[in-house]
Symmetry: C2
Subunit: 412 residues, 2 copies
């Protein structure tokens, strides 16, 4: 131990004692980088690579149309949803995999507003994830309702009898601040509103108990901590008690009670299946299902504890090793936090480019926020150590001060 | 030649003279079947299998988040759209790959109705593809407009000053009957309505000239004749002249003018990109792009002529070899036809199961319609011959009359 934080040898020792250490080899990770961006795109599970290959060459290539039945493609959205439900405290039949997060938010928000006719307000957070705000704006324009966008701490004060839906993101995409979902949901219900949560930055690295917390509606992303692959299909949740009354604005053939009757009349499927619309994205679903299967093997309590421990170590090390360089830790050191940490620096963009050039991969969000994600199944304590040492070196040597590091990439 | 139709040897000879014969080996097809269901799920292009493998193991596995820039994932929806545009007579910047067909139909139909405020009617066909009708119903309920569903031949008579959109499918999903798109679109424009076409059963095996025909809006499916893989992402088209005024009901972050500014205010991207919503499905896009690349190598006139010739041969052979067994040809022998043919028989379901058990793969649609698709890049004349001989044998021997052939599969 050097100063207050563990040295490299101590980090290696922590990795040796890590009950989740065995999971790192279940991912196909390059050896030459420290990957700290699983909060944006999770790493590739070896089983997902194998599964995508099988689905492509065997099931599509050889099975062809027969695979809808023989390889059970047709049930993949519900089957994967049922598995995913176990990661977020939901019951079988409450979760389905479909579309993108944006499309699912749209579908559920329209349905929620129709479930509360006469109420014309959606309460959300002014710095909610942008796509959540854009979708809310689109729905508001379509249905003629109002958006009440408030600060995170003012949500409960914004509730009244006009509110149809409280529409929030569980874990903030930059700060990692975590809402008290159960409390806000109770408050929403007390004023007669529905509670709808975006779980994109939560699942499965932050505890989510949809049934226990009495959540009404939720949606989330498959490609971040779930490791479902780039642009993986998203998921949505509708509490069982709402499923019979809640309709869908997007009644596609896969949500029909009997899709292969090809009836010209729409009869919604019972249960969660009505929230499917078009044909499911089988390649993406295959990768996601393999990733969810891997998560179901792991101890979720261990995983969440480790994500917190990695983030704590990162904050402690940054505080000690990078002091005096104008860095500001934007994520909570104490209390609940998502599995990523943001640091602010006026030159955050260029510092991150210098880090990436040195094999430490995070991302940046305006203004000058560097994000670092801690994926408990494949990030090691020694990775955190090496990342902070690299960051300290970049800051001390001003290695970020190069013209080409200022050239902004399309995706940041 | 036996009777009026070519015998097997003559079909083999036609295959030898086929200018597209070389394309069959570009697909990974099993040797032991005759696959006549490319109108439902196209076969696997070898290049798509390779591309999916590269995207998974190299770009996702090794490149990780960097691949959004380095492997150009971020531009895949527009890049693939621009390529696809060349198959349907559209210009660069008029087509984008996104979501499912159902979601795209929803987005465009809402946008079309808002583009014609004051007009409250959508004209469609009573036996349009079911998901098109369901989506129309969902939009009608949401926006309070009416659906005027008429017979195929009555579309032009149904047009008046109340009509906002004419919303049709180019090639009928069972009969293969082809609408005169240019004429109906002109009639729609004459009454001040927009024309929106579903190209799912057309592209690229039936001629589509979106710009020449002055189409306003279109959408279609990636997994049928395009060979993009199961649940491939779909595409949508917006004519350049409408792009500035037409908004989207689903304003997601990928349709923002500057997605990585993460602004809380939505500013639509210029051009077709605003019709993107969530994060694109990269695995599915990769397979689809490889399939579109293959199509761009082929001569489309040859391909369309061959699809027609294969269907003509099928109808002629069925008429001669299967007479007296109660089969009815439901697709036009003369005049334009899609690349599939439907036969009706009271025992169509069981007959198809007997065919599939013998390695001849089509599908069924109620009531008792057997569909056979003719994919010009990989279906041979000899395949048509062998399929009809198998069908004749199944009918003559009553091989379909088995109990287990009556057990309906989930996907038919």
């Amino acid at each position: 131990v050097s100063g207050g934080v563990p040295d490299r040898r101590a980090c290696v020792a922590r990795d040796l004692g890590d009950p989740l250490a065995q999971y790192r080899e279940r991912f196909l990770l390059p050896d030459d980088i420290v990957y700290l961006d699983g909060n944006s795109l999770g790493a590739l599970p070896a089983a997902a690579a194998q599964r995508v290959d099988d689905v492509t060459r065997e099931e599509w290539g050889r099975g062809l149309i027969r695979s809808w039945n023989d390889a059970h493609w047709i049930s993949a959205p519900q089957r994967t949803g049922d598995k995913l439900a176990r990661l977020i405290g939901a019951s079988p039949g409450e979760v389905v995999v479909a579309d993108s997060t944006s499309v699912n938010l749209f579908k559920l928000l329209v349905s929620a507003l129709r479930e509360r006719p006469g109420r014309r307000v959606v309460v959300t957070q002014a710095d909610n994830f942008p796509t959540d705000l854009y979708i809310a704006g689109g729905v508001a324009e379509l249905l003629g309702v109002d958006i009440r966008a408030v600060d995170a701490g003012d949500v409960e004060d914004a509730l009244d009898g006009d509110v149809a839906v409280v529409y929030l993101t569980h874990v903030h995409f930059t700060s990692g601040v975590v809402h008290d979902v159960a409390r806000i949901t109770r408050a929403a219900h007390e004023c007669g509103a529905l509670a709808m949560w975006d779980l994109s930055h939560s699942t499965p690295v932050v505890a989510v108990e949809l049934d226990e917390w009495d959540i009404d509606l939720a949606a989330g992303c498959g490609y971040k901590h779930l490791n479902g692959g780039p642009g993986a299909p998203a998921y949505l949740f509708v509490a069982r008690r709402l499923q019979d009354s809640l309709g869908t604005a997007l009644p596609g053939w896969m949500g029909h009670a009997d899709p292969f009757a090809f009836s010209p009349e729409y009869t919604p499927a019972s249960g969660i299946a009505r929230h499917l619309s078009g044909t499911p994205a089988i390649l993406g679903l295959a990768a996601l299902e393999a990733a969810v299967d891997l998560w179901l093997e792991a101890d979720l309590v261990d995983a969440r504890d480790k994500a917190t421990a990695l983030g704590d170590l990162f904050i402690d090390m940054v505080t000690e090793r990078c002091a005096g360089h104008g860095l500001e830790v934007m994520s909570p050191r104490h209390g609940p936090r998502g599995a990523h940490v943001s640091l602010r620096h006026a030159e955050g963009y260029r510092i991150m480019q210098a880090l990436i050039a040195r094999g430490v991969i995070g991302d940046v969000r305006p203004p000058g926020l560097m994000r670092f994600g801690f994926a408990p199944l494949y990030t090691r304590y020694v990775d955190v150590h090496d990342a902070v040492e690299t960051l300290a070196d970049v800051l001390e040597t001003h290695a970020w001060d190069r013209e080409d590091y200022a050239v902004r990439a399309v995706v940041t």
